[in-house]
């Protein structure tokens, strides 16, 4: 039995044990969950998302697509093919696309422009269903993010277009919409709140944003796959009763820019592991 398998079995047992005790008082439940989170942190090799990061690295290096080229000529902001530390400086403005892009928007752009993949197909069903592994683009994003692990968020947001996107992101964060009148800020603009038993981070507060934003993309135990930040935003919009937000849309990139800027200086520990 490999170390990873053994760990996963321990994790499965703990999860079952935690789930089988609904009568736990609030404090106890929190303590158990914290213990479980700590176990995941104690053994960084236990995170199944690392498999996706490996898959992403292969996909990055392999010649693919109608043009049969690798992504090694893709410029993530630090020069073609430079992956190390690139994620820490995203989102940023890219002159070739005349757009501000986050990691997923940029990979999508490279897959389309360099490899010749059809954008429409890549954005058609960009996120995995429960149990299915993260899609190729998401695996590549996981790889790219993992190569900034240990660094701090340092996107500058000094270009006029970057400032514009940031302002839009902030505006959208507080924008109430849909049949339940929700905004991102409904759940994420106060400290110490919970939805059911799930603690909610105060994402417009730097101290709290720094703790959580750097964990994405993350392996989600409840859905057993890696969820990227674009997927996370898509999921929030689903909960808000809005339609399906398109991968790498200006609105989702703007929201991610707002989150990353709020988390500026926070540690990147991607891929993380979530409930």
């Amino acid at each position: 039995m490999t170390k990873r398998t053994r760990w996963l079995m321990t994790l499965a047992c703990c999860t079952v044990a935690a789930m089988a005790t609904p009568a736990f008082a609030q404090g106890d439940t929190e303590k158990q969950l914290e213990k479980y989170r700590q176990m995941m942190k104690d053994d960084p090799w236990s995170n199944p998302a690392l498999l996706d990061a490996d898959r992403g690295e292969e996909l990055w290096k392999k010649p693919r697509g109608p043009k049969n080229v690798s992504l090694e000529s893709c410029d993530l902001g630090k020069g073609p093919g430079k992956v190390d530390g690139a994620f820490a400086e995203l989102p940023r403005y890219f002159a070739d696309a005349d757009k501000v892009m986050d990691v997923e928007a940029r990979i999508l752009w490279c897959m389309e422009k360099l490899q010749g993949f059809e954008r429409a197909k890549l954005v058609e069903r960009p996120h995995p269903g429960g149990g299915a592994p993260v899609k190729e683009l998401g695996a590549i994003a996981t790889y790219v993010a993992s190569r900034s692990n240990g660094l701090k968020f340092a996107a500058k947001f000094d270009h006029p277009k970057e400032k514009e996107v940031l302002a839009l992101g902030e505006n959208l964060f507080f924008r109430r919409m849909g049949p339940m009148d929700f905004a991102c800020s409904t759940c994420h603009a106060d400290t110490g709140k919970r939805i059911r038993l799930q603690p909610l981070p105060y994402l417009s507060k730097p101290e709290e944003a720094r703790k959580v934003v750097g964990e994405w993309p993350a392996y989600r135990v409840s859905t057993t796959h890696v969820m990227t930040m674009q997927h996370r935003v898509y999921d929030c919009f689903w909960q808000m009763r809005l339609p399906q937000v398109e991968l790498a849309s200006d609105a989702s990139v703007a929201l991610i820019a707002y989150l990353v800027n709020t988390a500026k200086g926070g540690n990147i520990s991607a891929p993380g592991m979530k409930r």
Binding site: P22, Q26, S185, G192, R196, R241, L242, P243, E246
Partner: protein, 207 residues
Amino acid sequence: MQFKTIALIISVAGLATTAAVAQTKPKVDPAKADAAMKTAFPKAPADWHPRLVGDETMKDCSAHRNTPPQALAKTIRERAKATIQYPPDGKLMGDWKKGEALAQSGYGMRFTDYPPKRVNGGNCYACHQLTKQEVSYGTMGPSLLEYGKIRKFSEADTKIAYDKIYNSHATFPCSLMPRFGANNFLTIDQIKDLTALLMSPDSPVNK
């Protein structure tokens, strides 16, 4: 004369502050935000488009980050009051048992909820503590334990509870709570059931 000078200084200082704020926080043209939202959801069917743009009340609340100035708060409150519809027979309480089931259910109106398999739920437990039995409750809203008992099951408070569920802004302008009745998320009968959950002496909320 002196008064005028002071007033001038104050107004200049005021302008300077406004300018500084405007510089650090560039205002977003509402049309631009609307356009960004519209293009972000290319698959949205036409009848979903209104969901991407809030109504007047939501625009007011978003612009003021849910703390509207007094005059606007009054406008929002009046606007909300006008939306509330009451059952024709005037009975505001239904079946608390149905209300408890609605309080547990978060079903309805997500893009994965079509065609609907069940009725929409109120999902009250997501944000409120209601009964001692249910330990999985959220804390976004206040605890509603013993809601009716504390209010001595009064008729006036029954109406207040019904109104809050129907359109919370009639009581708290820019409340974070969904406008369940005004937005047609729940029916009048469902709101009656939830009112009973809060106000009935038999309800587990009051035990």
